[in-house]
């Protein structure tokens, strides 16, 4: 397996930002006559040229379906596709690449878990525990499961600072708790959760643990063995890869024991009308033609990330996040939502007297792309008594000037809404 070495010095490699930015064609443009300031990486990141070239290479040079093909193009495509499994395993420090299942994204990965082992493990009277700051993708599948099975959804509360309140964890996790599903980093307010502690408590009570790592994989090193979780999901398109790529990592022995989810080609060993036998993991969970191009593109994205190093990316983004918090705090009328102990990816804020939607429209006119809305985290919005916030989120290509442009544009909003 093709493991990457990981340096222990965070920030050891410092980032050549101009070079990094030059790799992203979409950043080189003007919006309404202003240079694009892309602060929406938590929704989806921009893609470096190498990712586009990897996909293009597949389509131009060896476009074909994979597995069970014996001609040269198919052989090449299969080898490339399977090699990305090794890259993902290396990224997550997973010992066995067979524990990597390709999905269309985080959402599908979580649904897969809920619909297979979730159904088997959660019965009437049981509990599933999530947190108050989950993305809808890590709420709705569990809600649907609980409703179907007559189980109860319980929620780890969130403090005014935007941290999960873990003091009462022992009360929240009991023998009834069959699954604990937690987001690693909040996409709405940027909190980095102490999931190791939550996982530890869950395991002690015999609950399965599912980590929604959609917002952590792009920003920090992850080691599934060290975390101790049973499943972990992320989306390729949020880590500089293509739309349509995603990953469910699961403990091999769990995956092997699980029933398949979707039926179709590739996930079977033999089919007859009387009896069908299923393929081994991971193919058992990859029914039908996968998004071959997207997986190959994800491989290139992980190469890109590894070349810079997640420690360097984390350090760079932390600096920007700290700077943004400090500068936004200087803007009168701006209220940052949440002051978590540790932050990654995003900052959410509101502006007195102006609806986030209006802020978003005016910012866009200045070339500043942010999200305004509930960020698929309605319960968290409600927790803070809001219907929407403005969210600025960062990536490896973000720069200090982006923060300044954001602040300037907010000033403009204030002029209009004075």
């Amino acid at each position: 397996m093709n493991r990457q070495s990981h340096t222990d010095e965070p920030g050891g490699t410092s980032l050549d930002l101009a070079t990094v930015r030059s790799l992203f064609p979409c950043l080189q443009q003007q919006i309404h006559g202003n240079p694009l300031v892309y602060l929406d990486s938590a929704a989806t990141t921009q893609k470096p040229i190498s990712v586009l070239e990897a996909m293009d290479g597949y389509y131009r040079e060896y476009c074909s379906n994979i597995h069970r093909g014996i001609h040269t193009l198919s052989e090449r495509a299969t080898a490339k596709y399977e090699d990305v499994r090794n890259k993902v395993a290396a990224l997550l420090r997973a010992p066995d690449p067979r524990s990597v299942v390709f999905t269309s994204g985080t959402t599908e990965a979580i649904n897969l878990v809920a619909r297979t082992i979730g159904r088997e493990r959660v019965g009437s009277g049981d509990e599933v525990l999530i947190s108050a700051m989950e993305h809808h993708a890590n709420i709705v599948p569990w809600q649907m499961l609980c409703e179907e099975q007559g189980a109860t959804l319980r929620v780890i509360p969130c403090s005014d600072e935007g941290d999960l309140i873990l003091d009462d964890l022992v009360d929240l996790i009991s023998e009834k708790t069959r699954i604990v599903a937690i987001g690693h980093v909040s996409n709405a307010i940027g909190t980095v959760n102490d999931i190791k502690r939550i996982i530890h408590s869950a395991r002690e009570m015999g609950a399965l643990t599912v980590v929604d790592a959609a917002q952590s994989v792009p920003h920090m090193n992850i080691d599934v063995e060290d975390l101790g979780c049973d499943f972990l999901a992320f989306s390729g398109h949020k880590v500089y890869g293509p739309t349509g790529s995603g990953v469910l990592w699961g403990r091999l022995e769990l995956l092997e024991a699980m029933k398949p989810w979707q039926g179709g080609g590739d996930m079977i060993r033999t089919v007859s009308f009387e009896k069908t036998t299923y393929a081994d993991v991971p193919l058992k969970f990859e029914a039908g033609t996968p998004d071959i191009a997207a997986v190959i593109g994800l491989g290139a994205a992980l190469d890109f990330v590894n070349e810079i190093g997640l420690d360097a990316i984390y350090a760079h983004e932390k600096e920007l996040l700290d700077e943004a918090v400090a500068k936004l705090d200087q803007v009168s009328g701006v209220q940052i939502v949440g002051r978590p102990n540790q932050r990654a990816s995003s900052i959410s804020f509101v502006l007195d007297g102006v609806h986030p939607h209006d802020v978003g429209t005016i910012l866009d006119q200045k070339g500043v792309a942010v999200r305004a809305g509930h960020h698929c985290a309605m319960p968290l919005m409600k927790r803070f008594g809001l219907v929407a916030t403005i969210r600025a989120s960062f990536g490896v290509y973000s720069e200090s000037e982006d923060v300044d442009s954001l602040v300037e544009a907010i000033d403009e909003v204030k002029v209009i809404f004075r």
């Binding site: 309404h32 006559g33 102006v354 609806h355 986030p356 939607h357 209006d358 429209t361 005016i362 006119q365 305004a372 809305g373 509930h374 309605m378 919005m381 219907v387 929407a388 209009i416 809404f417």
Partner: protein
Amino acid sequence: MNDFRDLYQEMILDHYRSPRNFGPLESQNLSARGYNPLCGDEVELHLYRDGDGILRDISFEGCGCAISTASASILSEVLKGRPENEVRGIFEEFHKMITEEGTAPEGEGLAKLKVFSGVKNFPVRVKCATLVWHTLIQALNEKEEEVCTE
């Protein structure tokens, strides 16, 4: 370039800051709710339609962004006292104005609606401007479900 000053005209900002006809309506005999998932905004529209089909009174609650709030506020001002049929026609013209190259609804007392003509250049905001209008039609049709501008 679309100037956002065309969108955020003074009249819109004024109605946003001080919405007219805001609150419940004691005499209400028709009402409906509308929801815009894009901004998370909700509006509740209260109407009193008399026996001749005239909208004698209009008020609203909820809303959120400047465009949807101002739209509700101005609607309530402009349509009060008009017959139902005329109101439906005005919505059609209003809708044309903010989606295609239509002109503003003509007629006495309708000039204010023109302030929304800038919305045309901001396609994602069209739903904000029309939310209250769709809710109005829902109320007039005496439909129960919440309107949603998905």
